[in-house]
């Protein structure tokens, strides 16, 4: 079997689509796909076309680039231009506008900015260039964090002195908790993020389902994964169920990846943290533990920023599922992927970017 192609099978897709329509009937429901990667797949394959019009898919706060505060970009630019650090980063971050400039523009000012596929590349670069200080931009949710933790642990183990991580790590369950407790977004069910769940396990959502009486289904990232998740959710919604289900069981379990959890526990500690547009959320983030302080760019450098959020951007409300990209007056006119105003327009996983790229 081909685990990629088989989950794009259009015949099965049509079956799932029909089953979903039959299940929900004509009652209106809103489902939030939490993860930006899921949003990307939904737009890329136009999956909304395969759902009945009364079943609304709403993009959630799970795009790591989108929820990273603008101050983070300003810090990275500062480290690159003022401290002469080499910045290693996932490509998505390069074009996100900071208060003064993006990393791409910093590059044009002479900054050394290297897009990478893996955080390991940044540590290798630090070892290969002992005369430079390498900063890895460690942003992401629980999917990405264990890898960043591995690299920090390895840096300490091998005594690398010219390496640090500028961390902006977020946790999905507290964010969903805040979303649900605010009561602002009217969401009937959640497609929880498959790869985050591979790490943290489905058990992480049990309390949320119970507290807020809302069904959740773990969804993968192929078209069938998402349709399958919607199908299970539809069953719950139709029957008034509030279970915590798993439509991505080939890659995620109840307990999650215990080794990964241990690495996170060893290197990071929970903290209250700000998500862009959502404000400070209790326990929504991670910091680097004291025992690895030497690899914390925030501790290591005196970083000075003067950050301002762009005017008029409604990324925050979009991330909460309150508004859609098309509701933003800047969308497509002033804010485009060429000249993005907010972070949601930059990443391929951002709702505004996906809505613009795949617009009609």
């Amino acid at each position: 079997m081909n685990l990629l192609k088989d989950f794009k099978n259009p015949v099965l897709a049509r079956k799932l689509s029909a089953a979903i329509a039959e299940t929900v009937g004509d009652r209106p429901f809103s489902i939030m796909e939490v993860c930006g990667g899921q949003t990307h797949t939904i737009y890329k394959y136009r999956l909304r076309e395969m759902l009945p019009p009364n079943l609304r898919l709403v993009s959630g706060p799970g795009c790591p680039v989108c929820v990273t505060p603008i101050e983070y970009i300003d810090k990275a630019v500062f480290l690159a231009l003022e401290k002469g650090a080499s910045i290693y980063t996932f490509g998505d971050l390069v074009r996100v506008p900071g208060t003064m400039m993006s990393l791409e523009k910093a590059q044009a000012e002479g900054a050394d900015v290297q897009p990478v596929y893996s955080p390991f590349q940044s540590l290798q670069a630090a070892k290969a260039n002992p005369e430079r200080h390498v900063v890895f931009l460690g942003i992401g949710f629980e999917t990405t964090l264990p890898g960043v933790g591995l690299v920090i642990r390895e840096a300490q183990r091998s005594g690398v002195e010219n390496f640090s991580v500028l961390l902006s790590a977020k946790r999905v369950p507290p964010v969903l908790d805040a979303l649900l407790s605010s009561g602002k977004a009217e969401i009937d069910g959640f497609i929880t993020p498959g790869h985050v769940t591979s790490i943290i396990g489905t058990k992480a959502y049990d309390a949320l389902c119970e507290t807020y009486r809302v069904p959740m289904v773990v969804g993968g990232f192929e078209p069938l994964d998402l349709l399958g998740a919607v199908h299970l959710l539809a069953g719950e919604l139709a029957g008034g169920g509030t279970r915590n289900l798993n439509a991505y069981s080939r890659a995620s379990s109840k307990e999650g990846n215990v080794k990964a959890q241990q690495v996170m526990e060893e290197v990071f500690e929970e903290k209250d943290d700000e998500l862009r547009g959502l404000g400070v959320i209790p326990k929504a983030g991670y910091g680097i533990r004291e025992s690895f302080a030497e690899f914390d760019a925030d501790r290591r450098f005196d970083i000075v920023t003067n950050s301002r959020e762009p005017k008029g951007c409604i990324c925050g409300e979009i991330l909460c599922g309150i508004k859609a990209p098309e509701d933003c007056p800047l969308f497509g006119a002033i804010c485009t992927p060429d000249a993005p105003v907010g972070s949601c327009m930059v990443s391929n996983e951002g709702a505004c970017n996906a809505a613009y790229l795949f617009r009609d």
Binding site: R46, V116, Y117
Partner: protein, 332 residues
């Protein structure tokens, strides 16, 4: 404008186009290019010439399937050929960075000679400059090309029902270069598809009433088809399942989350031919080693005027837009 040039201005996407329009075309006015075509048709006393230019700044200089010299010949030969011209003469301007190995330079020049021979063009003039180390990147090459116009294209006759043909697998050059990025833990047998296509094209022109063609370089198939459809009273509809794709390109695309339709090709042409000629066109293309995997990938449709739309493998329809730019390495 008080902005500065950033990498995106050279991406081949919209930022490049805007820069050319707002800076070059605006100030050059009557003395500048009268169209955004890659080559210019020049009135000659008898017949018409086509004249084109491209600079090549690829990194690394050498890669599986070719090198910057291969690119510099093929790119310009293909630009002439897709204008309907028979490529005849190239100029060759090189900017060398102090510190370049002469051995490497020799290999590159040999590639240039080999590809010129294969394409049947002569490099008739040249220029060499050297810049300080740190002021260049090994070697930059400019080639300008002159050809004789033999088969003027007729995009104005394009109509719904006309077929879209691609001459082979899509995205190879861009994905091959991506896997070479320093420190990227990827390996594949991917090779650049860089090739001189004038022979293949002329065989196709002999067999089919080609109305329009273009080499799908920076920006890939999606960008080139957008250029075709933009402002037209008809649209382009592509069939995702019919687009030839090598396994390795598909694999790299999945691994890095990229769309091969936006990945550069250096040996692929998109053709628009009348429906009844499509079979002949394919037959003509397949006579060439470079056209063995040619396929019809879509057609001109009444719906979606001005747009390029993809019929996805899931059976849904998705508009293919133009990307702004990529934070990717220089690939041509």
């Amino acid at each position: 404008m008080n902005e500065k040039i950033i990498l995106g201005h050279g991406s081949g996407g919209r930022m490049t186009r805007d820069l050319v329009r707002d800076v070059f075309c605006r100030h050059l006015g009557d003395f500048g290019p009268q169209s955004m075509d890659d080559g210019a048709v020049l009135p000659c006393e008898k017949g018409e010439l086509v004249f084109t230019t491209d600079s090549y700044v690829v990194s690394p200089l050498e890669f599986p399937g070719g090198d910057i010299g291969t690119l510099a010949v093929c790119g310009t030969v293909n630009d002439l050929a897709v204008m309907g011209a028979r490529p005849l003469w190239l100029s060759l301007g090189v900017i060398l960075e102090a510190g370049l190995e002469i051995d490497a330079l020799e290999r590159i020049v040999k590639s240039i000679a080999a590809k010129a021979r294969e394409a049947g063009v002569k490099i008739v003039c040249g220029d060499t400059k050297v810049v300080e180390k740190g002021k260049g990147d090994g070697i930059f090459i400019n080639t300008a090309g002159i050809g004789v116009l033999e088969h003027p294209l007729t995009p104005e006759t394009i109509e719904p029902g006309d077929q879209i043909i691609v001459s082979g697998t899509v995205g190879d050059h861009g994905m091959a270069l991506l896997t070479l990025r320093k420190g990227f833990p990827l390996k594949s047998d991917l090779k650049s598809d860089c090739a001189p296509l004038n022979g293949m094209i002329s065989q196709c022109l002999d067999e089919a009433g080609v109305k329009w063609m273009r080499d799908a370089t920076r920006g890939g198939v999606a960008t080139i088809l957008n250029e075709l459809s933009e402002g037209r009273p008809w649209g382009v509809l592509l069939e995702e399942n019919d687009i030839p794709l090598s396994d390795a390109v598909a694999g790299v695309s999945e691994l890095l989350g990229l769309d091969p339709l936006y990945s550069a090709n250096e040996g692929k042409v998109i053709f628009v031919v009348p429906r009844h000629q499509a079979e002949n066109a394919l037959k003509g293309l397949k006579k060439s080693a470079y056209g063995k995997k040619a396929a019809v990938i879509g057609l001109i449709v009444d719906d979606f005027p001005g747009k390029t739309v993809l019929h996805t493998q899931m059976g849904t329809l998705r508009t293919l837009g133009i990307l702004a730019s990529d934070p990717l390495p220089r690939i041509c």
